[in-house]
């Protein structure tokens, strides 16, 4: 008689996850324990470890139990044939449009980072032909329409012998900002290349993870700190805008983000910081010593902790068009050396409206947004920021003068700094609910735009440019 034992956790729901070992799609339990949120795949064949997906149960419930705009069927989508996530590219179920096309132009790399979360075969060099690049850009524009951003990645894109021609293909009126990932090794040496990037208006997304040589070796295989600092110097000198990309690994480099924020504060060419939480997948990450995942909300908290008291968790907001476990963003107004988070001077609903369809705040027809902020600051007597906002609005919306959207974007970015916190999914955290809302999409084949994480987990390994089929076949099993 008597009662049964309590479970140590509280069940919340079941999502469509995947098995780390056999890579099939399986149900995954989502549960609460010690105020945190965990996900564990329930594969009938293989054991799977639980992974942390949110650091705070209350935050999770408030944000995940919401309605997300469903923009399906997207332009160019096809009917499902196999069932989510095996129809990607997009199928008629996909709910969010492509807002950031991202693709590899080479599999070559001059580093072999133990944290690399993607696959790039080393035995067979691939550089994307310029014709192919032209076709892909055409495809992206045809499928996604005018877009604010395009992202070129690799491997290491600067190793592509025709990288400048490739980037030139992206210079079109339909594309706002060309961004290119780089580890900075070549940019530290090749000032000429930096100048060419400046001429093309390319924004460099420079990976920057640590100021500690030992940690650099652990993450990148060797000490690359000086090279990265030199790359920043070279790019700054010629006026190339930058985003610093910080992969945050539990127990390894959480403390680096304070110094990286300082870099951004002190350098007008650095427009944003992207914190990507470590994903234990791909050629490096899949074998990297596993620690607990850093979920998106915890990553934002870690940024705040190291912000020298300037930021607080409430300054971050999920992206309205993505899943709240994938992205959290803090927009700030740069006011002298100080960064003023928009969330403190503007209502969150209004901010969400501005963030709705892009990674960049859209300012078209948003004079009222700034007027409201100014009125509010005035009413509260916060005169310090008042002048900065007034000055900005005068430049953004000059009376009697037309400003086109891209120009306005550039004016805004001189005054706005952004922190993006982005959690990719790996085998432990994969969830179709998240994939269905993904706005980062890979033009992996003609007519297809594949959500980035399903691409990394299910599709890239079918692509022999990046993955050498192992003995015994591909690890991607596209059946259940």
């Amino acid at each position: 008689m008597g009662r049964l034992d309590d479970r140590p956790y509280t069940y919340f729901t079941t999502v469509r996850g995947m098995c780390r070992t056999c890579r099939t799609v399986v149900p995954a339990r989502v549960y609460f324990q010690d105020g945190k949120v965990w996900q564990q795949s329930l594969c009938p064949r293989c054991a799977n470890e639980p992974a942390l997906i949110a650091g705070d149960q209350q935050w999770y419930m408030e944000n995940v139990l919401r309605q997300s705009p469903d923009q399906s069927p997207l332009h160019g989508s096809h009917a499902p044939k196999l069932g989510c996530p095996h129809d990607c590219g997009p199928c008629t179920w996909h709910a969010s449009p492509c807002q950031l096309p991202v693709f590899s132009v080479t599999n070559a790399c001059n580093l072999d980072c133990p944290i690399c979360f993607t696959y790039n075969r080393k035995d067979k060099l691939y550089h994307m032909p310029v014709d192919e690049m032209r076709r892909i850009v055409e495809q992206v524009v045809a499928m996604a329409g005018p877009i604010d951003l395009i992202n070129i990645t690799g491997g290491e894109p600067t190793l592509h012998p025709q990288i400048i021609e490739l980037l030139e293909c992206c210079r079109r009126p339909e594309i706002g900002r060309i961004t290119m990932n780089s580890n900075g090794i070549l940019l530290a040496e090749d000032r000429d290349l930096c100048e060419r990037l400046a001429e093309l208006g390319v924004c460099v997304i420079l990976s920057f993870n640590t100021f500690d040589p030992k940690v650099s070796e652990l993450l990148h295989g060797r000490n690359v700190i000086d090279a990265k600092l030199r790359a920043i110097e070279n790019l700054t000198r010629v006026g190339v805008r930058m985003t610093l990309l910080n992969v945050m690994v539990r127990g390894v480099n959480e403390d680096a983000v304070g110094g990286i924020l300082d870099l951004m504060r002190g350098n007008d060419s650095i427009l944003s910081l992207t914190v990507q939480t470590m994903t234990y997948t791909g050629q490096g990450g899949g074998r990297f010593a596993r620690a607990s995942h850093i979920p998106v909300d915890d990553a934002a908290r870690i940024v705040c902790e190291h912000s020298r008291g300037q930021l607080q968790f409430a300054d971050f907001m999920p992206r309205p068009s993505a899943h709240p476990l994938c992205y959290s963003i803090c927009y700030m107004l740069k006011s002298g050396d100080e960064l003023v988070p928009f969330a403190r001077v503007a209502p969150r609903e209004k901010l969400a409206m501005l963030m709705r369809n892009s990674y960049l705040i859209r300012l078209e027809g948003e004079q009222d947004f700034f007027r409201d902020i100014i009125n509010d600051l005035y009413a509260k007597g916060q005169t310090a920021h008042l002048r900065v906002f007034r000055d900005l609005i005068a430049r953004l919306y000059p009376p009697g003068k037309a400003v086109n959207p891209f120009e306005r974007q550039r004016i805004a970015e001189s005054a706005v700094r952004t922190i993006y916190v982005h959690s990719h999914m790996d085998e432990d955290t994969f969830d179709c609910s998240r994939a269905m809302l993904c706005t980062d999409q890979v033009p992996a084949a003609p007519g297809r735009l594949i959500p980035a994480c399903t691409y990394n987990l299910f599709y890239r390994m079918q692509d022999d440019r990046f993955y050498e089929a192992m003995q015994g076949g591909s690890p991607c099993t596209c059946s259940e």
Partner: protein
């Protein structure tokens, strides 16, 4: 349109487990499913998307069965039997003891084929399996077919009651058999059996559609003899949109005007088994629809605010309201005299509270609440408190006895349950994995009710 997420459902044609996109038109909640064989299909799941999102917040830790069974090496839910992946213990076991029935209801979940009676030996095996998993069974429900037609019914009940872990037996019946056999009812009463009477209202139109023939006259007679006998009775109503929602006021009246009627269970029709053919003639009701209709039924004691989702099952499966009946006969919704959280804590992982010595702490906290909480301002708080005090005194003097508690408490606390069974349209693996309502099988497995009805029955 807006999306709420993605889950696993079943294909309405072949019953394969398939992905389901959960979406809303801004008002209600739907699934869009995709089956490799049978393509896409849409299903209405639940009305009121805001209520849906609010309800999903109701969670609490589950209990662990003493032993797991089933086959965890099969994909969920094929290996059912409460394997280690299952998220709850079995609170409400239902044992089907016969397939024989004296009605052929179009609304029946069971698409009766072969005629069989469970043997006493098989019944014993089922109990063994059940009690390997559970320490205490508050209510063991016997069902069918029509369980009163089982030739060894009383022997089966005695077998169950011989197990000290089983507190109470209830029988789900259409009641017709009782009209022919008054001794049977007396024998059941002697064994403190609770009669769960199928009662779809007091309108022959509803019976004709749901049960295949007019039954009001017979049901009235059954109610009369149950009242004469004073046996604990629960009213179980299959509710169908456009068919018998208009019967809620009469059902509530009956519940609150008869002391022996302890609860009212509403089961919105699931279009499963034979009932699948009712689609088109009866509209789907979801829990929020039923709560709204009950609130609007005009009963002075009942409002929509009395209901809470039951967090020990999936909160989408059950909603319930408790009503305290004071010494003076006043009806007070328990949700109004205590904080909702307290009520749900008191429920632990069972739908009946007060059956554990420890749970008296919860009742005592409720008394404290009456002094200090929102109920302190109620005009009848003094009266309510007297009732709770007497209840605690009556049930806690001497040594603790769950059976005694049950009998004392059920006359002072009436309940309304809404239980939404799933069918092939609404099936959601996220709910089924948390099911606490199962059919224990002779092989020792415990089959979650909706998994059994949707994926196993007749297949």
């Amino acid at each position: 349109m807006h999306v709420l997420g993605m889950t696993h459902s079943v294909c309405p044609v072949c019953r394969a487990i398939v992905p389901a996109k959960v979406f809303t038109d801004g008002r209600d909640v739907y699934f869009r499913k995709f089956c490799r064989e049978h393509g896409e299909s849409n299903a209405f799941v639940r009305s009121d998307v805001d209520e849906y999102l609010r309800t999903l917040r109701c969670v609490k830790p589950a209990w662990v069965p003493r032993e797991f069974s089933g086959d965890a090496h099969k994909p969920c839910p094929q290996g059912c039997g409460f394997c280690y992946r299952h998220e709850q213990h079995l609170c409400m076991p239902i044992i089907e003891i016969t397939s024989r029935c004296d009605l052929a209801c179009p609304v029946c979940l069971v698409d009766a084929g072969r005629q069989w009676n469970l043997s006493i030996a098989e019944f014993d095996c089922i109990l063994d399996g059940l009690l390997r998993a559970e320490r205490q069974v508050d209510v063991l429900n016997l069902s069918g077919g029509e369980p009163l037609l089982h030739p060894d019914l009383l022997a089966i009940i005695d077998k169950a009651l011989a197990r000290r872990e089983i507190v109470r037996v209830s029988i789900s019946t259409n009641g017709l058999r009782l009209l022919q056999d008054r001794t049977l009812l007396r024998e059941l009463h002697k064994r403190n059996v609770c009669i769960s009477l199928q009662l779809d209202g007091f309108s022959d139109r509803a019976y004709e559609l749901l049960r295949g023939r007019p039954l009001v006259r017979e049901k009235m007679q059954v109610l009369e003899i149950l009242a004469d006998e004073g046996i604990s009775t629960s009213l179980t109503m299959t509710a169908a949109g456009g068919v018998n929602e208009d019967q809620f006021p009469a059902m509530l009246d009956y519940l609150f005007s008869h002391e022996h009627v302890v609860s009212f269970m509403i089961q919105p029709v699931a279009f499963e088994g034979r009932a699948a053919s009712l689609a088109g003639r009866a509209a789907r009701l979801s829990i929020p629809d039923v709560i709204k209709a009950l609130g609007a039924a005009g009963h002075p004691a009942v409002s929509a605010a009395d209901f809470v989702a039951l967090p020990c099952s999936s909160p989408l499966c059950f909603s319930l309201a408790f009503y305290l009946i004071t010494q003076e006969g006043r009806i007070v919704p328990v949700n109004r005299i205590t904080r909702a959280g307290e009520l749900l804590d008191a429920l632990a992982n069972r739908i009946f509270f007060g059956l554990e010595p420890g749970e008296y702490e919860s009742l005592k906290r409720m008394v404290y609440d009456l002094w200090s909480g929102p109920a302190g301002s109620l005009p009848d708080s003094e009266e309510v408190m007297q009732t709770i005090r007497r209840l605690i005194k009556a049930t806690s003097c001497g040594c603790f006895d769950a059976k005694k508690v049950f009998t004392e408490a059920e006359r002072r606390v009436k309940s309304i349950f809404i239980h939404a069974f799933q069918d092939a349209h609404t099936f959601d693996l996220a709910r089924a994995r948390r099911c606490c309502n199962a059919y224990p099988q002779p092989d020792g497995s415990l089959m979650p009710a909706c998994v059994h009805n949707v994926l196993r029955r007749g297949r």
